[in-house]
Symmetry: C2
Subunit: 348 residues, 2 copies
């Protein structure tokens, strides 16, 4: 099928065409990239919400409930699950307590998953592509569920307009689990399984971290006011100086469908804040920059490796020489970069 046909079918709402394109993108077929390119001008409608957090925090259950919430509100939903253990991916080996089949027959919901394995930079690129296809399909909201709080997750989170960091009481040491990077990416905190012992502690730990940050930022803290807001899961933005967003802390019990409406309201409040402050456009530009750099990096490396194999031998043989300390990887990289900047030898 020509790339234009596939793209046209996707824009016309053909779910199977979208699934086909996603598969082809995963297989890195050139025609798939052409189809994606022709979809790009039709993207920019979807609001992208990232959910990230440690394994076992209940992100999938929360995603499940958010889907239901948005469907009740009449919105169409796409889901990209970046986590091989997610029930969305079928990766759960023992048991699957999420009733994702509730959504399987709903045409307003489109779910795709990605493993976290693959080449460097591949994860954020693949996720970005799936989000773009879902955007082009006309999904109103795209939920991106990632596991963990590492560098990948931070990059994947950068695809989102609003990032929800999901924590859970009793994860050993909650504060240990919440890392410096998370403070920077979190727009909303959800303390899930909030009916468990330790929920108050988990909320307090987050409050302390946010207060520490505000102290660093040099802003006075209105303890009672903010604490009251946060304890009740109300977005605290209104209490803060214009132009700054304080991540609200929302308690949820996903499996009992508690706190999900509050969470959705917190996301909505953040969206309104971004639109008001110009932050939405800034996030779009950052996302475009990251996507472009990823594509560029991949193009350049592919070209250089082809040149390497043509001129210096197979990559494994070169690596064996480096491993034997017979070759200097920095020098090889320099030589190769320099050759690429000059006219090719042996190629027309």
């Amino acid at each position: 099928m020509a790339a234009g046909d596939l793209a046209a079918r996707i824009l016309a709402g053909d779910v199977r065409a979208a699934a086909r394109l996603m598969r082809d993108l995963d297989d890195r077929l050139p025609a798939a990239e052409a189809a994606l390119r022709s979809l790009l001008p039709r993207t920019g409608h979807a609001y992208v919400v990232g959910l990230t957090g440690a394994p076992g925090a209940g992100k999938s259950s929360l995603t499940d409930r958010l889907i239901a919430h948005y469907r009740r509100a009449g919105k169409t939903v796409g889901v990209v699950a970046v986590d091989p253990t997610s029930p969305f991916t079928g990766g759960a080996i023992l048991g699957d307590r999420i009733r994702m089949q509730d959504h399987a027959l709903d045409e307003g919901v489109f779910i795709r998953s990605l493993g976290t394995r693959g080449h460097l930079g591949g994860l954020s690129r693949s996720t970005a592509e799936l989000v773009q296809v879902m955007d082009a399909m006309g999904k109103d909201v795209v939920l991106v569920e990632t596991v963990g709080v590492g560098q990948d997750e931070i990059e994947v989170a950068s695809l989102a307009h609003t990032v929800v960091v999901v924590s859970v009481p009793g994860l050993g040491d909650d504060v240990q689990a919440i890392k410096a990077g998370v403070l920077e990416i979190a727009d909303v905190f959800a303390v899930n399984k909030a009916d468990r012992d330790g929920a108050d502690r988990a909320v307090r730990d987050l409050q302390v971290m946010l207060e520490l940050r505000r102290t660093v930022l040099g802003r006075p803290v209105d303890h009672d006011h903010d604490a009251a807001h946060r304890l009740h899961g109300t977005p605290a933005a209104a209490a803060l100086p214009e132009g700054e967003w304080e991540p609200p802390i929302v308690r949820t019990v996903a499996v009992k469908d508690q706190g999900v409406e509050e969470l959705a309201r917190a996301v909505e409040a953040h969206r309104a804040f971004l639109e008001r402050s110009g932050g939405l456009r800034a996030r779009e530009v950052a996302r475009a920059r990251a996507g472009f750099v990823t594509v560029l990096r991949e193009r350049l490396l592919a070209g250089a490796l082809a040149r390497l194999e043509a001129e210096m031998g197979h990559l494994d043989a070169v690596a064996a020489r480096i491993a034997a300390r017979e070759a200097d990887p920095y020098q090889l990289a320099e030589e190769l970069a320099a050759r690429l900047a000059g006219p090719a030898e042996g190629t027309p």
Copy 2:
């Protein structure tokens, strides 16, 4: 200081010179790279052990105990902690239960930490560089502690000769926490905090996963034999066909110093297996290949972005055009890659 002087001082055992080089590498000073290059021929001595697992699993305590173990055995130890919440990094906001100061005055121990933030590919590159410097310093064992089990951690783990995956009972749903990728990178499993409720379950879950994998690999399972081995934390390698390594499961209670000797023995057994099977050389080549590709990718991208800014405008301006759907990132990347392959315009 000239790069050669710095390298010579490091090879002579000057700890402050090593610390200085690591700082300079972090700041990406060109002289630092030159010094590192001159150290490379003197590397290849250290045995690298990676420890990875979810936040709160107690990796730092286990690392702490392993340091003590190796020191008792007369070995020098380097530690690279890739985790901003690790007590090694000073990143723990509330409380620090690890007495790392025990090692602070020990000249046989050298500890450095890295945050997990930074540019794509930067984490594994930086970690690899720290490992190389510690190797050149003559450390016998280098422990690399990473948090999480995402793609980054898998890449960082690929730096190690032996990868220990640390899990812990009661982390919500242990099997959910142990992801497909982990099975592929784990050479040894440690179930830490094994005096807690749920330890048997955690061990069993890992056994089930390993058995599933063996079934997939088409090998018959000798339940009683293997189970007995694993339940007692004995490396099961001897019970397996020649040429295959079955990750042993070791129970540890790091804070009570229990199981640490067994864990070290399991690491040693894996090392002996790698040496016997030729796997050690294969890992060295894979590590060299990954390192080279990372350096090459960085060089190429830096050159291309300089060219972009010279010819197409500032990256942010280009990204803004992409975000506004006025420019096609794929086309821009192609143009730029093509220009780099031809003679430069406007540069001599």
